[in-house]
């Protein structure tokens, strides 16, 4: 994968997770319908679960943006979205599956020069 391709995919995924994370924190009641049944065993309200999920996505999206632990952040976000895809199902699940695989592909690629990992932590580039 070329560096330009990697950067395009990385920043696109950053925008995706930042937007969804912000929406979940700002309007959690709009996302409670997507919570699976097994979250009913959690001793916390639905809105709180959604907001925690959104906060998680925002933090790791920022890590992906800065290029800190890039592969770990991309892999975790990809697995997270993969779980959502299988939980929600349907057309939304198919779309989320494709996005999740894109994020997992980032995790299998070495980060580009515009990341803290390469610039300051001296990790190898492609």
């Amino acid at each position: 994968m070329s560096l330009t391709t990697y950067r395009i995919i990385r920043y696109t995924m950053v925008f995706l997770f930042l937007w969804f994370g912000y929406q979940q924190i700002a309007n959690p009641e709009m996302w409670t319908t997507y919570l699976p049944e097994w979250t009913g065993y959690f001793p916390m309200p639905s809105n709180m679960i959604v907001q925690l999920n959104g906060f998680f996505e925002i933090i790791f999206a920022l890590l992906l943006l800065a290029g800190i632990f890039t592969r770990v952040a991309a892999g975790l976000l990809g697995l997270h979205l993969l779980g959502i895809a299988f939980t929600v199902g349907g057309a939304i699940g198919v779309r989320d599956f494709a996005l999740a695989m894109t994020s997992i592909a980032l995790a299998f690629s070495k980060p580009d020069e515009w990341t803290v990992d390469v610039k300051y932590l001296r990790k190898k580039v492609n």
Binding site: T32, G40, Y41, P43
Partner: protein, 184 residues
């Protein structure tokens, strides 16, 4: 792991734990109920106390002095002025539904108010003397959403006690959804 990476990892962990703790602390059911009680008190409809039914003062002037008339002449008395009709009074605004009463942060609802929330988009139910907002619980119910939808706008005490009367987990989940008490 190199030292800068370790420091960054610790910072990220602190931010994550701090953020989760903040969301959990501010999202506690007690805090949410207090917020709801505060917003309801600010939005309770208040009748305008300045609107009073006042009738304008009606003055009727009557002539007390009669002019001297020469003999043989007829007089035409001026017709007495008719009393002006009072302006129509403005009807007092009638509140459509009584606002929920507040008692130290816990609101009180009547069964009629609960019955107005009988849809999947706004699902309230009265269970064992308390009112619960089950809207967000519908997709999360382990036994399926239909059982919760069937309780919308009703008193579900019998059904809940039959199914979950001895379940501490169900009781704990129900507490998180409480929004007030049922008026007797």
């Amino acid at each position: 792991m190199q030292r800068p990476g370790l420091i960054i990892g610790i910072i990220i962990a602190v931010v994550l734990i701090g953020g989760f703790g903040y969301i959990i602390y501010n999202g506690r059911p007690v805090v949410q109920m207090e917020k709801n009680a505060g917003t309801t008190q600010n939005t309770t409809p208040q009748l305008n106390e300045n609107t009073t039914n006042t009738q304008p003062e009606v003055t009727v002037s009557t002539t007390t002095e009669t002019p001297v008339q020469p003999p043989g002449t007829t007089t035409v008395q001026n017709p007495q002025p008719t009393q002006p009709t009072p302006p129509p009074t403005t009807p007092e605004p009638k509140p459509t539904a009584p606002p929920p009463t507040s008692d130290g942060g816990a609101k009180t609802y009547t069964l009629a108010q609960v019955q107005t929330h009988s849809t999947q988009d706004s699902c309230w139910a009265a269970i064992n003397g308390s009112v619960y907002d089950l809207t967000t619980w519908i997709p999360r119910h382990p036994g399926g959403p239909q059982r919760i939808i069937g309780l919308c706008g009703k008193d579900g005490s019998a059904m809940f006690n039959q199914k979950h009367g001895s379940s501490s987990r169900a009781q704990a989940a129900l507490v998180l959804l409480k929004i007030g008490t049922l008026a007797q």
